[in-house]
């Protein structure tokens, strides 16, 4: 698997659904096409649902990393620029 260089990070462990996705979406909006965002999220509902929402927005998911502390980092490449 190709490595990636993270351009920006966002922590959504301090918010709950649906703000989790909104916060991630806002962070993605700040990036340019092709840049990579690492989204830190909690286990449970966020990690079940946020990746799918990011996919449905059309972005490219590269990896889900288990931090083994009850949080995960979702690595996302931004697709499309409005």
């Amino acid at each position: 698997m190709a490595d990636f260089i993270i351009d920006d990070t966002v922590d959504i462990t301090d918010v709950v659904c649906p703000t989790t996705f909104v916060k991630a979406k806002v962070a993605l909006e700040e990036l340019d096409e092709g840049q990579i965002l690492s989204i830190k999220m909690n286990d449970g509902e966020p990690v079940q649902n946020v990746p799918r929402s990011i996919k449905e927005e059309g972005h490219k998911i590269l990896k889900l990393i288990d931090n083994e502390d009850g949080t995960y980092d979702l690595i996302v490449e931004k697709v499309g620029d409005e």
Binding site: M1, P51, R52, E56, L62, K63, D66
Partner: protein
């Protein structure tokens, strides 16, 4: 002339407490009404009813306070807006459905198309007692499939497609059944845990799954004087023709075995669950 209540009831006219007044139940399929139908319903409620409608618990519309002398005029007026009376009594009732995959991102089957098909096939069919079909698009079960005599739930059967997988691990967490494990870049699905919710596929960034959309069927649900959750006694159904055959078999079993005013669950209990299962499995395998 004496009022023939049985015929009126068959045609969706529910007798009200108020003498000579009926609440007219309309034929609705899968919970959808066109703007044209709604406009006509509003007009009829205004002209012949009390200016309002009641939304029933099973996605139908009733127009209360229709007078017995207006019954024919009301039917005629409704027909102009493509609206028909519904049914009450011992027969196949309104086929209910959620919005399904045509609208909802979670949907796994086209619930509305299926509701139309079942409505064409069975609506108002005379039986020993009421018989309810309900169709829900996925495991979220917004339409509460298991409340119905025959409940249909959409699902997705998945098979991992190694060539397209990037090993990101999203599916492992998307699965709420803990059926998926990722080890050394390989995905394993515990089929005994999979409930066909399709979340792994829907969350997968590269669509690395071969999928079959299909149906999970439950039998004998009740949610009235007695409460019973419909039971699933056969495996995942992969094609619609098979589903229809199973529905035919269930209805036939009910028709042939039920006592008057006996709900499906009680017929199955009385005649024997094993005997019913045998018939359904015949249809499933045949």
């Amino acid at each position: 002339m004496a009022v023939d209540y049985a015929t009126l009831k068959k045609g969706g006219f529910m007798r009200q407490k108020q003498k000579n007044n009926f609440s007219l139940r309309l034929r609705v399929v899968g919970g959808n009404l066109t703007a044209k139908q709604l406009a006509k319903i509003a007009e009829v409620a205004e002209n012949f009813g009390d200016g309002y409608v009641h939304l029933t618990s099973r996605q139908s519309v009733e127009i209360p306070f229709i007078k017995v002398d207006d019954v024919e005029n009301v039917k005629e007026a409704l027909a102009q807006g493509d609206v028909e009376p519904g049914v009450c009594g011992p027969r196949v009732r309104t086929i209910t459905a959620c919005q399904g995959m045509a609208i909802c991102p979670s949907g796994c089957i086209d619930t509305y198309a299926l509701a139309k098909e079942l409505d064409d096939r069975y609506f108002a069919r005379e039986l020993p007692h009421k018989f309810k079909f309900g169709i829900t698009g996925c495991q979220n079960n917004c339409l509460k499939a298991e409340e119905n005599d025959l409940g249909i739930k959409g699902g997705i059967k998945v098979d991992w497609k190694e060539s397209a997988c990037i090993g990101c691990g999203v599916c492992v967490k998307a699965c709420r059944q803990n059926a998926i494990t990722l080890k050394d870049g390989k995905i394993t699905v515990d089929k005994s845990k999979c409930n066909f919710c399709g979340r792994c596929f829907k969350a997968c960034p590269t669509d690395a799954w071969d999928t079959v959309n299909g149906y999970i069927v439950s039998f004998g649900g009740l949610f009235g004087n007695s409460i019973n959750k419909g039971e699933t006694i056969i495996p995942f159904i992969e094609d619609k023709e098979k589903l229809l055959k199973i529905c035919d078999t269930a209805i036939k079993f009910f028709e042939e075995n039920a006592k008057p005013s006996e709900r499906f669950k009680f017929t199955v209990d009385r005649v024997g669950k094993e005997k019913f299962k045998e018939k359904i499995l015949e249809a499933y395998n045949g």
